[in-house]
């Protein structure tokens, strides 16, 4: 049981901070970047590829560097600290993770190689209007006109919102299979039968409505196989990484708030003179520390590689981080007062991003329901293994 990062991990953090942290150290840079399509810095994306960050989670034979969840979590935290808009979570961890989990050897080599090299942006087209974070597809369906060998598949229906779906060079699409179950497919978004409408999201990100009309689709992995357990597993990994990103964001949001309290004057004194405000800041710190503890623990559960424990650990982290994110996001603005409402000032963007992360992969109550359903199955939760 050890909560400390080793030297190599510390070095990774410093390297990412040197690149991403530096790029967005000035909040105006981030504002400018998200104001224009594609909503992120393609040059920076290329540098992340060069540094090996995009390939971090993938095996070396696929062009990656074979690092583990601890390292990916460090990257996510650093992205979170500066609200970096690059599609690391949805493009690398989620879409890339699915290719790694479900693709054939050939697909892994080809797609992950291009992804790791920064040559191809991926997106996972999964959410459907009305869906609520399930690992399955429902209204988007796949059908096969040819043999079952993987030829002649098409998908139809609407996926929305698809994070960074308009910019993506290649889509990983979940679709209900004719024989039941949910399949995964690779779709070329420039093919006929694919229509994309991109738009900005409140947190400075991008999403799209992607409509498929008998669009040609290549099964990811073996054709016609239910991939919902792979989807569930990769979603859980992405949840824990979203938690890592959120704790990075919360740390900075709290820092910014305490700095503001010590510098802003009202009634002739700095705001930290008002005990009602400093006590609330103390409560924020408590929320942050607790969320951080569960997130680091869940990341270690991933690293320990026990698939049967991953879903529960992801839900536990997601629940705690959802509660903390709302607490910190809401109070950070309130403690800033009017200035906290403005887009020029960074703090509101932290709240906005925390809200987005909370709803991307399942909010606190969603995970609470899952945990409540099994609360009677065990006497207590023992985090020590």
């Amino acid at each position: 049981m050890d909560f400390t990062y080793d030297e190599e991990q510390q070095a990774l953090r410093e390297a990412v901070r040197g690149l991403v942290g530096k790029a967005y150290a000035d909040f105006e840079n981030r504002r400018r970047t998200v104001a224009e399509d594609p909503g992120f810095d393609e040059t920076l994306w290329g540098r992340l590829a060069e540094m090996g960050i995009l390939g971090l989670p993938f095996r070396e034979e696929y062009g990656g560097s074979g690092a583990g969840p601890i390292e990916v979590g460090i990257v996510a935290q650093e992205m979170g600290r500066v609200l970096a808009p690059e599609p690391y979570l949805t493009g690398v961890v989620l879409a890339g993770g699915l290719v790694a989990a479900a693709g054939t050897e050939e697909q892994r080599g080809e797609v992950l190689g291009a992804l790791s090299a920064g040559e191809r942006v991926l997106a996972f087209a999964h959410a459907e209007p009305g869906s609520r974070w399930a690992a399955t597809a429902s209204t988007v369906t796949a059908s096969s006109s040819g043999s079952s060998s993987g030829e002649g598949w098409t998908v139809s229906g609407v996926k929305e919102p698809v994070p960074y779906g308009a910019r993506a060079d290649q889509l990983v699409v979940s679709a209900a299979l004719p024989e039941g179950g949910t399949g995964l497919f690779l779709v070329d978004p420039s093919a006929t039968g694919v229509a994309r409408d991109g738009y900005p999201t409140h947190d400075g990100g991008r999403a799209a409505r992607v409509a498929f009309d008998d669009a040609p689709a290549v099964p990811l992995g073996a054709a016609g196989v239910d991939a919902s357990s792979s989807i569930a597993a990769v979603l859980d990994i992405a949840r824990v990484m979203a938690c890592n990103e959120a704790i990075g964001a919360m740390e900075v949001a709290l820092d910014a708030t305490t700095s503001y309290l010590t510098s802003r004057k009202q009634f002739g004194v700095t705001l930290n003179t008002f005990q009602a405000l400093t006590f609330r800041a103390a409560d924020l710190y408590v929320s942050l520390e607790l969320a951080k503890s569960v997130t680091l623990w869940a990341t270690m559960v991933l690293a320990a590689g026990r698939p049967e424990e991953m879903a529960e650990a992801a839900s536990r982290a997601a629940l705690q981080v959802s509660r903390a994110g709302r607490h910190i996001g809401q109070e950070a603005i309130q403690l800033h007062g009017g200035i906290g409402m403005t887009a020029e000032y960074s703090i509101g963007s932290y709240t906005s991003r925390l809200t987005a992360l909370d709803h991307l992969l399942g909010d606190g109550d969603h995970h609470l329901r899952l945990l409540a359903a099994t609360v009677g199955d065990h006497e207590e939760v023992d985090p020590l293994r």
Partner: protein, 383 residues
């Protein structure tokens, strides 16, 4: 103690309900229902329809368009309006500058401004807050210096809501720099088309343009635009801020959103946790509405009722809590916040997060909830 409305009040309520649901254009009410931002024209049209029927400024003196209703009737008027998705009369006109001019302005100012103010022929903006005078309003620094028959105004106001539409702005300005803080402040009406007035938009975190900075550079204002006495502006501001007890808490609008959210929830309402969350919020809103009724019933004396702070504090908390619930109901679709009309995500879900983010302001603007707690602690509890 009496639960029922009197037959007269019940009839009044029916009358209001009928009016609001039949006389105000449906498209305006639809925009409110969908939580869209209203256009300037929609706000003006709606208030003019109300004013044409004597329903825009019922709390003003009768000679200026008021109705001499009981507080209960004003409450009913206000709740039914929100229930019917009718935009409430522009607060800057109806609840702020109008009552101040009516109470403290000269006869000439009244005649000049009150009819146009009631009819929204003049769109008023509010110039109180400054970059270094937020909760600590009395530390404001915008000055007005006498020069012949004019006052020369210099300084900066901020958080001026909808200032981009403003024709006139009512300002607190420092007219006696020697006097201590609250003294030496005057209440001045300024034509926003005057040379030297600059309005600059402030983008908010929901991406909207709702508030502004207003800059004054050697703006010359006729001295007759002073309301009431020189250096007595702080008293008028206190009157303005404490004047209104009806509609302090956004009960009706919040109730309406919660009722709509039940529709939006669909199957989710069958989930016990979701149902409990609705039931708890609904109960708190009931408690708030009943508290508002208790407070309006004691408002005859014309002085600010400190319990108004309870309404503001709890009202904004519940408004925010309901907006948070709506984001959760939208779930992953809440990420489609920037989608256009072609989206497959319903409009309410697309509006959910921007509305939630925008409403963070509710507990900050117009006297932050910290200020409200301070008022309760000091004025009511004697702490």
């Amino acid at each position: 103690m009496q639960l029922e409305l009197s037959p007269e009040d019940a009839a009044f309520r029916d009358e209001m309900r009928t009016f609001f649901t039949t006389k105000v254009p449906q498209e305006i009410r639809d925009a409110v229902a969908e939580r869209r931002e209203l256009t300037k024209e929609q706000v003006v049209e709606s208030m003019q329809v109300l004013n044409a029927h004597g329903l825009a400024v019922p709390h003003w003196p009768v000679e200026w368009g008021g109705q001499d209703w009981s507080p209960l009737r004003r409450h009913i008027w206000h709740e039914e309006m929100q229930r019917a998705c009718v935009p409430t009369p522009l607060a800057f006109n109806a609840s702020m500058v109008g009552p101040v001019i009516a109470a403290f302005g000269s006869q000439e100012l009244k005649e000049r401004f009150l009819p146009k103010t009631a009819n929204l022929d003049i769109w008023w903006s509010q110039g109180f807050s400054e970059p270094d005078a937020g909760s600590d309003l009395a530390s404001l620094r915008t000055t007005a210096v006498r020069d012949g028959d004019e006052l020369v105004v210099n300084g900066q106001k901020t958080w001026t809501t909808l200032g981009q539409y403003g024709d006139w702005i009512f300002c607190l300005v420092r007219t006696d720099p020697e006097a201590k803080k609250q003294r030496g402040i005057s209440f001045l009406l300024i034509d926003m088309t005057s040379p030297g007035v600059t309005v600059r938009p402030i983008e908010l975190i929901d991406g909207g343009h709702e508030v502004n900075e207003v800059w004054f550079e050697d703006v010359r204002v006729p001295a007759e635009n002073l309301v009431g006495e020189l250096n007595a502006g702080w008293d008028y501001a206190k009157f303005l801020l404490g004047n209104e007890r009806v509609g302090v808490a956004p009960v009706g609008a919040t109730k309406r959103v919660l009722a709509q959210a039940k529709e939006w929830a669909g199957d989710q309402l069958a989930d016990p946790l979701t149902a409990a969350r609705f039931a708890e919020l609904e109960n708190e809103l009931l408690a708030l509405e009943l508290t508002a009724l208790r407070v309006v019933a004691h408002s005859a004396d014309g002085k600010p009722h400190p319990a108004s702070s309870v309404l503001k504090l709890k009202g904004t908390e519940l408004q925010q809590a309901v907006s948070e619930l709506v984001v959760d109901l939208a779930g992953p679709a809440s990420l489609a916040s920037g989608a256009g009309a072609g989206s497959d995500v319903p409009e309410w879900a697309r509006r959910a997060t921007p509305a939630y983010l925008n409403l963070r302001k509710a507990s900050i603007y117009g006297g932050s909830n910290e200020i409200q707690r301070q008022i309760i602690a000091k004025t009511i509890l004697g702490l």
